[in-house]
């Protein structure tokens, strides 16, 4: 069983978590072009590497950030979201 560490509840089985995808910033729909918007809606960074992702600990509904190496399937770091930058 793979273990993920929730920043609030500590180490738990990964089956308690939901994956929310890579963290991406949304362009302003009022000002961006159709192409920029389509790129945001559909396109993804599908190559392997270390990614910052949204994860949720389902029993406590805690959304947090995980840094994960998607080539090796190793979780490097988890922490609560504190805004961009």
């Amino acid at each position: 069983m793979k273990i993920m560490t929730c920043p609030v509840n500590g180490p738990r089985a990964i089956s308690e978590f939901a994956y929310g995808g890579e963290i991406r910033s949304m362009p302003d729909p009022a000002t961006c072009s159709d192409d920029e918007w389509a790129d945001y809606v559909f396109n993804r960074n599908g190559s392997p590497g270390v990614k910052r992702e949204w994860w949720c600990h389902l029993p406590s509904n805690t959304w947090f950030v995980a840094e994960r190496d998607t080539a090796r399937d190793v979780v490097l770091r988890t922490y609560l979201y504190e805004g961009e930058g």
């Binding site: 069983m1 396109n43 993804r44 960074n45 599908g46 190559s47 392997p48």
Partner: protein, 413 residues
């Protein structure tokens, strides 16, 4: 051993006939370079040589022939899709499958079984009816049947599925079949090889040269190649190749796992799929039960297996077939699936001139091997999409014109 045989073993004039010619080095230039020596890449090479007379072609494979998703799927062949684009495309594939063994002079163990997509809910039954109507419209043999027909086809089934997911009916698709997947890659590979195509295994693509928006060459771990046409057929690793030419795509990679049981006496003739229980099962010619489930729930770019997979799949399998509780699981494995937002592939030309894409094959690629080879060969040879693949272009996302195949592509998405 008679000593005179030794003479042949030591002589270079009498090599053992091999299925594929071994080429010591890459040529400096090819008319077409195909990245990926799986079923799709080899099929494209085969049809390029056979139907378009283009034989100055090389297929580059990082590992070995058919060692990727071609050898990792659960070999189900069917055409009971949902969209008109999908139905016509997969129907042509099924037609090609039926005389492929004859074409190759190689036994593909193609076995027509009939395919049942079980419906446990009213919503699933409604999708089944929808699919049956679209299928019938295009002359494909699909119909909605009641639970008694399922029971007759698979007498060991528990129609109530442990009491919590009773089977209300099924979408029956008579042409559903299974085939031996390795042999498909070998057959296409041998056919291409015989016609002069070079297959280079253990040759990794490191970069693709693009000059002025056009493909100029390919850099590999065994040297550089000049070419104006590159076909990317590496489903499961497509984004890595797309990064080399600077194309963004919606493809994301999740593992898809499968497993087989120990061989048992033949008891299951048809192929059964349940979207609600997230399982599909068929029995191979060797007697093994070949079983699969839905995608792993998060992105991973490796073929690692997990214990959660056989655990949950077995639980659902026992809902359908309680008597399997004593049957052992023999092995499990994983493949990497190129997922797309609409569960349809991405095929055709791209914004980079001379770079052709056959990707986004998610969990539905094996059955499409022949038709992909044929249509991509046409597309590469004529620099124009074959009519069967116009609904699968990369620009459909930019135009918000998706080809929604989610209801028919796989289980449990």
């Amino acid at each position: 051993m008679p000593w005179r045989l030794l003479r042949f073993a030591l002589s270079k004039k009498h090599p053992e006939p091999r299925m594929f010619t071994r080429h010591d080095r890459l040529k400096p230039a090819y008319d077409v370079v195909i990245i990926g020596g799986g079923g799709h890449g080899l099929a494209a090479a085969y049809y390029l040589a056979r139907e378009h007379g283009i034989t100055n072609v090389c297929v580059l494979e990082k590992g070995y022939i058919g060692g990727g998703n071609t050898g990792r799927n659960t070999t189900i062949i069917r055409s009971n899709y949902l969209t008109p684009e999908g139905v016509q495309f997969y129907d042509e594939s099924v037609r090609l499958w039926q005389d492929l063994a004859q074409d190759f002079d190689l036994n593909l163990f193609y076995s027509n079984r009939g395919h049942y997509t079980l419906a446990h809910t009213d919503a699933a039954l409604r999708t089944s009816r929808w699919r049956a109507e679209v299928n019938k419209h295009f002359g494909i043999d699909s119909e909605v049947v009641g639970p008694e027909v399922v029971k007759k086809a698979a007498p060991m089934i528990d129609l109530s599925c442990g009491g919590h997911a009773p089977i209300l009916g099924a979408l029956y698709h008579a042409p559903g079949a299974v085939a031996r997947h390795d042999a498909v890659a070998w057959g296409y590979g041998r056919g291409a090889d015989m016609r002069g195509v070079e297959i280079h295994q253990r040759t990794e693509v490191l970069g693709i040269g693009v000059v002025g928006g056009k493909v100029a060459g390919v850099r590999t771990n065994r040297g550089n190649i000049a070419t104006n046409k590159v076909l990317c057929a590496v489903a499961g690793a497509t984004p890595r190749i797309l990064d080399m030419v600077g194309i963004r795509s919606p493809i994301y990679i999740h593992p898809l796992q499968a497993m087989v049981s120990e061989p048992v006496k033949p008891w299951l003739d048809p192929i059964l799929v349940s979207g609600s229980l997230h399982v599909y099962i068929s029995q191979s010619a060797r007697g093994e039960l070949v079983m699969g489930a839905s995608l792993d729930p998060y992105e991973v770019q490796s073929t690692r297996s997990t214990f959660d997979f056989p655990e949950s799949l077995s639980a659902h399998m026992l809902d359908m077939f309680p008597f399997l509780s004593n049957v052992k699981v023999m092995r499990q494995w994983a493949g990497m699936a190129d997922m797309t937002p609409d569960f349809a592939p991405i095929m055709g030309r791209t914004p980079v001139e001379g770079f052709y894409l056959d990707g986004g094959w998610g969990t539905w690629g094996f059955k499409a091997t022949p038709v992909c080879g044929k249509t991509m060969a046409y597309t590469v040879a004529n620099d124009r999409e074959h009519t069967l693949i116009t609904g699968f272009g990369l620009d459909r996302f930019r135009n918000f014109a998706l080809t929604g195949e989610k209801g028919a592509a796989s289980v449990g998405h």
